[in-house]
């Protein structure tokens, strides 16, 4: 049936959102079903999936304030900041009980892909936090770098928000179905990293399917003094603005054990006059030469939290 041009345009304007929403929802649901959804806790979302159709979500979720991020940041009294090494160290079962005993909400805001300070600073500018205590994994953190998953929502605010919104919405029905029956065909898939909405911790045990390999922790690599000097000069320029955005009463620097060593972190802590906590524990092991395995993560974070206890008390965090 022939229509007048205005009617044609009206029909196009009505049908386009319908088709677009239907096609997009279907394609995101399909993308979600390609990620392993069998081990997600009720409050967890898929932060990252090895299937490319889904890929990284946590950067956009934090940037756009999805998955309860603004509320969690506003409520937290202890905020952990850093990269995936920090996530692996503090996403262990011993961490939540430590803070629960003290009645203090905590949040682990590390990011994968080797994210540094610029992106978390942008997140904190958009979704302010007022932690009493902040723990920063200086690895080396205070640099100008920004990763590709972090750059995407910055450079593509519209596309990034649409992508993130669909990822957030379309994983909920699948999570609901899989919680009821994890044997459903649509629940298995590529390894997926789940993240807790309440604590920001990763469910690292679910990410690696099968037995976790154990590799010795490599010794700290030799770093050229000039290289550290160059980083230190730049870090002193970046750190003040970051700490101002952070609004933390107290700041503790750390260096999660890795080949990166702790020289840079120690030097910055000395200069800023803030505590540096990095317990030395023998026999630590990793799953991949970089990230602490479960046993080492618990051993190291236990020692860290014991050392943090008096600092937190003195600071008034608990």
């Amino acid at each position: 049936m022939r229509l007048s041009a205005p009617r044609y345009l009206m029909l196009l304007a009505m049908l386009f959102p319908l088709f677009w929403l239907a096609a997009s929802a279907a394609s995101y649901f399909l993308a979600v079903t390609k990620c392993d959804g069998r081990q997600g806790a009720a409050d967890a979302y898929i932060a990252y999936c090895q299937d490319r159709a889904y890929g990284d979500f946590e950067h956009a979720a934090f940037f756009f304030g999805l998955e309860r991020v603004p509320a969690a940041l506003a409520e937290t009294k202890v905020l952990f900041l850093g990269n995936s090494k920090l996530q692996y160290a503090f996403s262990r079962d011993n961490v939540a009980p430590f803070f629960a005993e003290r009645g203090v909400p905590f949040f682990v805001m590390g990011f994968g892909h080797g994210e540094q300070s610029r992106f978390p600073q942008l997140v904190l500018e958009r979704h302010p936090a007022q932690p009493v205590l902040a723990v920063i994994n200086v690895d080396p953190f205070f640099t100008d770098g920004i990763t590709q998953p972090a750059a995407f929502p910055l450079q593509h605010p519209v596309a990034g928000r649409i992508d993130a919104t669909f990822k957030s919405l379309m994983q909920r029905p699948r999570a609901w179905l899989c919680r009821r029956d994890p044997t459903l065909g649509l629940c298995a898939g590529e390894p997926a990293l789940m993240r807790s909405r309440a604590t920001g911790q990763w469910h690292v045990s679910a990410f690696r399917q099968g037995a976790e390999p154990t590799l010795p922790l490599p010794p700290p690599a030799t770093v050229d003094d000039d290289e550290i000097d160059r980083w230190f000069t730049r870090a002193l320029e970046i750190a003040p603005a970051f700490l101002e955005t952070l609004h933390a009463r107290c700041v503790v620097l750390t260096a999660v054990p890795s080949a990166a060593g702790d020289r840079a972190a120690r030097r910055l802590a000395n200069h800023l006059g803030v505590p540096f906590i990095a317990p030395e524990i023998d026999g630590l092991a990793t799953i991949d030469g970089v990230h602490l395995d479960a046993r080492s993560g618990i051993a190291w974070s236990d020692a860290f939290l014991r050392a943090l206890d008096p600092v937190g008390r003195e600071c008034g965090a608990w």
Partner: protein, 499 residues
């Protein structure tokens, strides 16, 4: 900002269109100024530094064009034209060819002539050709409009700024004259948006859908691995289809967008893979470039006016330079020589046989397609060595290189087969939406005339598909938009942006 980007579709385009509609109420000049500003913003979105090239070039070419229009014939006028053309070509040569020339000169002489990285400004090849055409038209007395605003819009108009169609001054300026610039009507918007939707579907769903197949096969060859024959065929076919749907999709989007603002652009493609000869192919593929090369290179070189030998030499020169225009690399030069030679053979064959010896149409179409496909291997390959590996694999020859591992699966073959069926069985967008295009293009006019004016000589299926403001077409356009804008699909640059 790509035409397929959400920022473009949901922010830039609605804002530009609404601003234009409001300002056109004030007057044509206000509307034109708004479109110029939007176009400059669109161009600067990639890199604001590009404006330092585009804006002065608009000013200089306008001044040269006006000076040429005022001059009477004579040496001064010729010198002015030569200076204008040289200036434009000089800028193109610096940005596009300086590194290539320096590298090759360095290889020949052993001198270190490295120039460092020279960033190629987006669309410079298209913009340069458009301005050269303008200067030549001004020299010939065909570009008389004195309005700077209309000239600036003609050059910078965002739908065609980055990758064409390469438009003539004489095609656009009459449309912008006071009282003749068509109001942005609902009919134009309906047609333009439908064409834009089809173009987006061609680019995002069809072209980008087969791109990974081409990337895998050509990627193996680039690494020095010999793809398996099946992989090479899948890769070459996929690239042949990708390039067509990518560039014709872009052109449809450009024409659809222009129509929203009451301006019609010439069609750039007319079912090129239905061509029954290589001469026919070049009348259907990137028509506005072929036209430019013919009018501003082949004919000034002498065309076919000075005997067969000179005609063939002119053809070969034109196509070689056409190849070089696509990219500063020897594979592009070889691609140009390849097509020049094919055209030469085609013309010679026609001359010898007087057009009496013709293969049956399906056979000549298949043969032309096959030859064009081998040409695209040269065009796509990252080096001669990679092209050779692909061609060896296509011919089933065993080379000394280690074998690649890519083996196309059934869904990949199905995708290729579907697109092949589409290019051979379906009508093209000029046939479907003739009113959306400027038919000043004699090539397209000839095609349409050959097919019969009523209703473009299409078969029954074709006639049923012709665009009309119907419920079915609204649903199809909405579906094309919906699928083209699906956020899970990556936004990949148009292939011709690199040229």
């Amino acid at each position: 900002m790509l035409f397929t980007a959400f920022e473009f579709v949901f922010l830039f385009l609605p804002a530009t269109f609404l601003g234009f509609m409001l300002l056109r109420r004030v007057g044509d000049i206000a509307g034109a100024l708004w479109l110029i500003a939007a176009s400059l913003f669109f161009y600067a979105f990639w890199n604001a530094a590009y404006l330092w090239l585009l804006v002065p070039s608009i000013l200089v070419n306008y001044a040269l064009g006006r000076a040429l229009a005022r001059q009477t014939a004579g040496t001064a006028k010729k010198l002015l034209l030569a200076a204008g053309v040289a200036t434009n070509l000089g800028v193109l040569a610096w940005f596009k060819y300086a590194g290539f020339l320096a590298a090759n000169l360095g290889l020949l002489t052993g001198w270190d002539l490295a120039l460092g990285t020279i960033v190629l400004p987006l669309g410079i090849s298209f913009i340069t050709f458009q301005k050269i055409a303008y200067l030549v038209d001004a020299y010939r007395g065909h570009a008389r409009d004195p309005s700077f605003v209309r000239f600036a819009l003609f050059v910078s108009f965002f739908p065609q700024l980055v990758a064409g169609p390469i438009v003539h001054h004489a095609e656009i300026m009459p449309q912008l004259q006071p009282g003749r610039w068509k109001r942005a009507t609902a009919t134009a918007a309906a047609t333009g948006l439908s064409l834009f939707a089809i173009g987006m579907f061609k680019k995002v769903v069809l072209a980008d859908g087969v791109a990974p197949i081409a990337n895998l096969a050509f990627g193996e060859a680039a690494q020095g691995l010999a793809p398996a024959p099946a992989a090479a065929w899948a890769g070459a076919l996929a690239y042949t289809l990708q390039l067509y749907f990518d560039f014709s999709g872009y052109s449809d989007m450009a024409c659809g967008l222009a129509l929203l603002f009451g301006i019609r652009l010439p069609g750039n493609f007319y079912s090129p893979y239905k061509a029954a000869s290589i001469i026919d192919f070049w009348r259907r593929w990137h028509i506005t470039l072929s036209r430019f090369l013919r009018d501003y290179l082949y004919i000034p070189l002498g065309g076919n006016r000075r005997g067969a030998a000179r005609r063939y030499a002119n053809l070969l020169i034109t196509m070689t330079l056409g190849g070089l225009w696509h990219g500063a690399g020897w594979t592009f030069v070889l691609w140009g020589v390849f097509h020049g030679s094919l055209l030469l053979l085609n013309h010679a064959w026609r001359g010898w046989t007087g057009g009496r010896w013709r293969l049956p149409a399906p056979l000549s179409i298949a043969l032309t397609f096959l030859v064009v496909l081998f040409g695209w291997v040269l065009f796509r390959a990252e080096s001669f060595a990679a092209a050779l590996l692909m061609i060896e694999a296509l011919l089933g020859l065993d080379g000394s290189a280690a074998g690649g591992t890519y083996a196309p699966a059934a869904p990949e073959w199905l995708r290729i087969a579907t697109l092949l069926a589409a290019v051979w069985a379906l009508p093209n967008t000029v046939q479907l939406m003739r009113r959306a295009f400027l038919l000043s293009n004699d090539t397209i006019r000839r095609h349409l005339a050959e097919e019969g004016v009523r209703p473009s000589g299409l078969d029954r299926i074709g006639r049923r598909l012709t665009w009309r403001p119907t419920i079915a077409w609204a649903a199809l356009a909405a579906l094309c938009f919906g699928l083209g804008l699906m956020p899970t699909r990556p936004r990949i640059e148009f292939l011709y942006f690199q040229f």
